[in-house]
Symmetry: C2
Subunit: 473 residues, 2 copies
Amino acid sequence: MALDTKLCTFTGRMVIVGFGSIGQGVLPLLLRHLDGLTSDRITIVTAEERGREEAEDYGVAFHNNPLNNDNFFQILKPLLDKGDFLVNLSVDVSSIALVEFCQRVGAHYIDTCIEPWAGGYTDPDLTPSLRSNYALREAALSRRAEFAGGPTALLTHGANPGLVSHFVKQALLNIAADTGLTVEVPTTRDGWGALAATLGVKTIHIAERDTQVSNQPKQVGEFVNTWSIDGFVGEGCQPAELGWGTHEKHFPADGRRHEFGCDAAIYLMRPGASTKVRTWTPLEGPFHGFLITHSEAISIADYFTVRDGDAVRYRPTVHYAYHPCDDAVTSVHELAGKNWASQATQRLMMHEIVGGMDELGVLLMGHEKGAYWYGSRLTIEEARALAPYNNATSLQVTSTVLGGIIWALENPNRGIVEPDEVDFRRVLEIAAPYLGEVVGAYGDWTPLQDRGLLFPEDIDESDPWQFKNFRVV
Amino acid sequence: MALDTKLCTFTGRMVIVGFGSIGQGVLPLLLRHLDGLTSDRITIVTAEERGREEAEDYGVAFHNNPLNNDNFFQILKPLLDKGDFLVNLSVDVSSIALVEFCQRVGAHYIDTCIEPWAGGYTDPDLTPSLRSNYALREAALSRRAEFAGGPTALLTHGANPGLVSHFVKQALLNIAADTGLTVEVPTTRDGWGALAATLGVKTIHIAERDTQVSNQPKQVGEFVNTWSIDGFVGEGCQPAELGWGTHEKHFPADGRRHEFGCDAAIYLMRPGASTKVRTWTPLEGPFHGFLITHSEAISIADYFTVRDGDAVRYRPTVHYAYHPCDDAVTSVHELAGKNWASQATQRLMMHEIVGGMDELGVLLMGHEKGAYWYGSRLTIEEARALAPYNNATSLQVTSTVLGGIIWALENPNRGIVEPDEVDFRRVLEIAAPYLGEVVGAYGDWTPLQDRGLLFPEDIDESDPWQFKNFRVV
Ligand SMILES: NC(=O)c1ccc[n+]([C@@H]2O[C@H](COP(=O)([O-])OP(=O)(O)OC[C@H]3O[C@@H](n4cnc5c(N)ncnc54)[C@H](O)[C@@H]3O)[C@@H](O)[C@H]2O)c1
Ligand SMILES: NC(=O)c1ccc[n+]([C@@H]2O[C@H](COP(=O)([O-])OP(=O)(O)OC[C@H]3O[C@@H](n4cnc5c(N)ncnc54)[C@H](O)[C@@H]3O)[C@@H](O)[C@H]2O)c1
């Protein structure tokens, strides 16, 4: 695909809610690839002045008008009608409220995270279970029946969640091919679950190492990141969550099951930003990542579950293992030191980045060949050459948002859908030109490597792929 | 004291072993303040080319000639005789071997850390107990009787260990004054112990926040710090160690007592660089520091122990709570991710530092006024104005090395001594001009502040100053 290919025609109106790193990064891609989407058809509704200059450069209407539960209907109603598209790239705006709104007016919808209204991630009046992504996802999916056949509302379709669900499918096919298993590409959820089970995949990490650095040092009391600081802090303060696989023998002492819903995932009684796990990527090698909750940890585990009647026969453990950029690591360290009271200032690293890449992929473990990582390696230089207003992290997201919007327009009446239900090949095809090197690599790494050298450690030698072995205590 | 005051006369020879950040930083101070110490009387013996240019600038002999157990006698013998001074600022050279050598030849000695020969900190053939600073200190102190009345050999007299022992004494006097307790300045160990016990000091942190930053981002695979990287990695891989106070009610599950020695301290079955504690400094406020083992955690706890016959009646808990510069925080994170296999490259931050300070002091807790921090706030700008070849971290060390050398020359026949046995006022007087602001400040902070907001936490509400409450799990 060339970088100026028109991918489909869209002559409706589009509203972009939230114009931070992802909103700003996706706008040029949408104008580039959607035939008929002229700038006068786009309206940005956001909560601050950030991005106004870009909007004005493109001639796109920009409203600094924060949405809340009381005003969102009035503000959005005049801007959206049947066949239009709401692209929700905000924080602190309820995804479920906007989905419902879109179903009522007949508009398409996409987001990259199921957001609650402001404060929802850290509301001390909610139990940890109800502050989880599991609860947010269950709430969103509970509306599926009601909106069946409605305009497509694609949830959580960024890089992760989003793209990584597609990587998992491609990775499974690659492992099958490399281990001599002849398979048709599955076309059903059951088919995919059976493939993962047959290959013996026990654990899947979303293994990400962001090496982007700037020459502007982080200040004391400043949270620095390559994407939404509010987003990262919010999810970092949610309980750590993970899809809980059928091979697991050691239920964590601080683990809890939810009392409702699909039961594909558990949560830990602690913030994800204080929970570290061992993981691996081909370029970085072994590293510690944060077990930050993400919707894909739950949706992928759920999607690949194989049942015998009501009994769960197979499910992989799935979770995020995130090494954000170094400045974000120290930002998290500082945040934890203040008992999760947010820093006074934020800086979303963009122009000052002087090097590094986002190495983002899925790490499938426990199959015949041990560990297989499949994902994108995108350097900051490549990202800048590919699209304006992006860094390496945002471009992996925005290209997948583009893919999701195209897919939704091509599949306009699917109601509420998750990434796992989207045609993975179509999205990968659209996103690929923006992902740098898309590669798969096997590794002989296990979380038992080099353990216990200086001090004895409590590990399960009988199965390297137990969650207990990954966890850093 | 003016910056050109001659503090004493020394016409012997001096050998500086190791010429890294501390050796390079101390040389100008020694030439400045020791009358009679001309550059032709100084010899540097080190293990690399680092620092040769400075040595040549000052006209000091520079030998790149790594010492080991087999060659050190031959190399040092021609350079040192009765009344000369060995200043050991190396890593990987056994302090005990050099102390013994100095006692034999009649030379004075100072170091800033009790170092083992190379590999001693991480020798997997040694038990964690024998890899501890407790064991190194016991081994050194076991030679005291043998060398009683010998030339003064001052152990671990840098900033911490070193200066902080003097800060503790000044802090106790300040708290006494501020709480209306009329006291004579104690002149004996018993007297100091009684004062600490009377004031009700339960826990003492060496609470340090290094905010120095550079505009040269840390590279992947590079360990960056403001002082010895080998030194920090070595001690970071040793077991976490802490003086164990008599008020403690919860012995850590991973805690162990040594089977020998003074019993003032315990160790944890894990590297200090993976062990975090809550602490506080006046400028930074609350933060997480690493519980890195340090000799002062043991010596201060030991020094302030009050006994009834053989029974220990009072002892404070004492440990380090270290927030190194941000780049070192990410370096430690990376190191842990590689299961403590050292990074391929190192960078000791010096000229590229663009801002920040070292806020280094002692935090005395549990007394009538809660928490009292007393220490030095030295900015990089101040450090540069005060002395060449220093940053804020090194100058706190080198000025105390200077103070220790002066004190040793003024008290030449004390055999093996620890900082706690040195005249604290003399050293503070000498170091003060180099320490920036030296301040005391009370805080209403406790480690129970803002706890348990998002998740329940296992804390002891009955006594905020329990180690259990400080520890980050
Ligand atoms: N799935 C993924 O891979 C992925 C990656 C990055 C970000 N995200 C998600 O995308 C969203 C946006 O991320 P970002 O990096 O652009 O965030 P950002 O913090 O840079 O921007 C957030 C935007 O939301 C706006 N906003 C805040 N409150 C609002 C309100 N009440 N009404 C309207 N707008 C409001 C802000 O003004 C800002 O423009 C977040 O939910 C984030 O979690 C997902
Ligand atoms: N007490 C304190 O406050 C404090 C503070 C900083 C450093 N220190 C200690 O001071 C010492 C030096 O610290 P630094 O920051 O200067 O370290 P550094 O790593 O910058 O320098 C160490 C020096 O030791 C030399 N060396 C290594 N092996 C040697 C050998 N076999 N023979 C001779 N020389 C050898 C190196 O070449 C180098 O010059 C370390 O022990 C460190 O732990 C103590």
